[in-house]
Subunit: 331 residues, 2 copies
């Protein structure tokens, strides 16, 4: 295992410390592995998080126009309720809290427990939303129902814009729900990743074999198959997404997400193929986000997320945000 780390057992705290050094607009609460905004504004507070290894998710999305706090668990492991409670308290300015949770059993259990405890003890009004955008498999290793993957970034962005604009908790929840309803994703991997504390790959792929529909923790997907061209890969992923939701004649926003070790060159080629695929089917590409947004350590591969837009979603998508992981609407 070759990794640029110091100690497999302290990667999470060390990388969060790094995040706060790189981005002076956030604070790192070391005891809790929580990243929160330095300057607070009276608004609905957005809290997300989950296992580490998906950087910049989620600490990299703390900032203007997106999250107020992110809670990091160990690599691929849910953070404890105690840590999530700290995230909620840091994000709370009295206007209510929205928890954005990817659909993994551990995350749901711990976030919901934190919600109940905080509601009871601190009288904070909290709603939660579950993201389950991955169409690959109906249930998975760590989830009942579909997994939450890169489509979560759209939920951070859009709910974040609504909260920044002064939306009520009910309004922020409602637009987050609409985003969840309108987004679908699917991914593939060309290589596995190695958990620092484990030291060997989580799964194996033969030379010239790829995993279709694989999860962001290396969970099995639909099949292992021989390597495909970018065009064929895009068709496989998008066919499955379009089979699940009707996008025809709609504008869509697209995330082409690198899994961590995918060269930018390849992501741009994938984006070109997505564009051709969508236009061929009378789907209108509105805005692309291409990069490493929801990674899986050093896995090579990509996921594609398609968000069906309406005017309200477009306005919120285009609203400025200024975080380490995503900057939009810079003028």
């Amino acid at each position: 295992m070759k990794k640029l780390i110091n100690n497999p057992n302290s990667v999470v705290s060390e990388m969060l410390e790094g995040m706060a050094i790189i981005n002076p607009d956030v604070i790192y609460h070391k005891e809790y592995n929580v990243i929160s905004r330095k300057s607070k504004k009276e608004k609905v507070g957005l809290v997300s998080g989950g296992g580490s290894g998906h950087e910049p998710a989620h600490g990299g999305y703390v900032g203007e126009g997106m999250l107020d706090a992110a809670v990091a668990g160990n690599v691929f492991a849910s953070p404890s309720p105690e840590k999530i409670i700290k995230g909620i308290k840091e994000a709370n300015t009295g206007k209510g809290i929205l928890l954005i949770i990817k659909n993994y059993s551990g995350d749901i259990m711990n976030f919901e427990m934190a919600k109940e405890i905080t509601e009871a003890e601190d009288d904070i009004n909290i709603k939660s939303i579950i993201v389950k955008d991955d169409v690959a498999v109906p249930d998975s290793t760590y989830s009942t129902g579909r997994r939450g993957i890169a489509g979560t970034i759209f939920v951070h962005k859009i709910a974040g814009a609504k909260a920044e604009a002064g939306g009520t908790l009910e309004e922020v929840y409602s637009i987050a729900q609409k985003t969840v309803t309108n987004v679908r994703s699917m991914g593939m991997a060309m290589s596995s990743c190695i958990l620092p504390a484990v030291g060997k790959p989580g799964f194996s792929l033969q030379e010239n074999e790829v995993g279709i529909g694989i999860g962001i923790h290396g969970e099995p997907g639909i099949e292992k198959t021989n390597s495909k061209t970018a065009k064929e890969t895009v068709a496989i992923l998008c066919d499955k997404i379009l089979h699940d939701m009707e996008y025809t004649n709609n504008e869509v926003s697209i995330i082409v997400n690198g899994m961590g070790a995918t060269p930018a060159m390849e992501l741009y080629i994938v984006a070109k193929e997505v564009d051709a695929y969508l236009k061929d089917r009378n789907i209108i590409p509105y805005k692309y986000f291409v990069g490493n947004f929801m990674t899986s350590l050093e896995m090579a591969g990509c996921s594609i997320s398609l968000l069906k837009l309406d005017e309200e979603l477009k306005t919120l998508l285009d609203a400025p945000c200024n975080t380490m992981g995503l900057k939009v609407g810079y003028k």
Copy 2:
């Protein structure tokens, strides 16, 4: 070789096409593999480029506050003078042109030839600047003198800000020269990269071996050694940089650059170690840029660039820029 591509022989044109789809503010000139800004403003034009495989460099840096045109050669191969001339013409608004060239023999030959031809035929006032920030080796496979690597991004950023602010060609050249004088870099690799058209790695590293001072085309560095911790790696790279230039009591800006396949988690840990290293030596970290800025296809590893700042450089570094590869100063 597993790559998300269609055809090893068309990766450059396909990825540039993708770039222009992702970023509606640029135009892709297919016949020349040139990316240029869509909306032109009367100012000194900045042109850079070189071999492909370093994405987002350089097409990703075309836009407000950085470059006006970028010229892409084949993977790790210099673009022809004819293509560079097209880049110059696209960037020209009558205020003169600055060519920003990384120090590789092929690039220098072709950019200088393009400069001579354009000056003679079109009466365009052109200056060129050579970036040679890599302290690893005095000469290299493709260069006489030091190689140009990620420090080039600082030159794009700072000269770009000066040009955007209405600086004359002489002023833009002069600040670019100051940036080149003040920046030093060094890199390391944990794995090789595979040229699409070649299909096998350019060099090899044993399990548990890393290359120190390696170039962005896989050129040999100082030594192959056993894997190091992030802290040890930072010390090796920064010691060599500090041996070459005095930074004590100065503010510096830092690029922690991923080589293409390095997880964000590892880059954040490296940034944390750079911060500690600098502060220990009374060097004052001013601003960090951490991400994949000057890559080498799917190479794993990183480079560190340190730019010695003064008030003029700080102001230009902080000026807004809005490109695919770098966004700064968003408010």
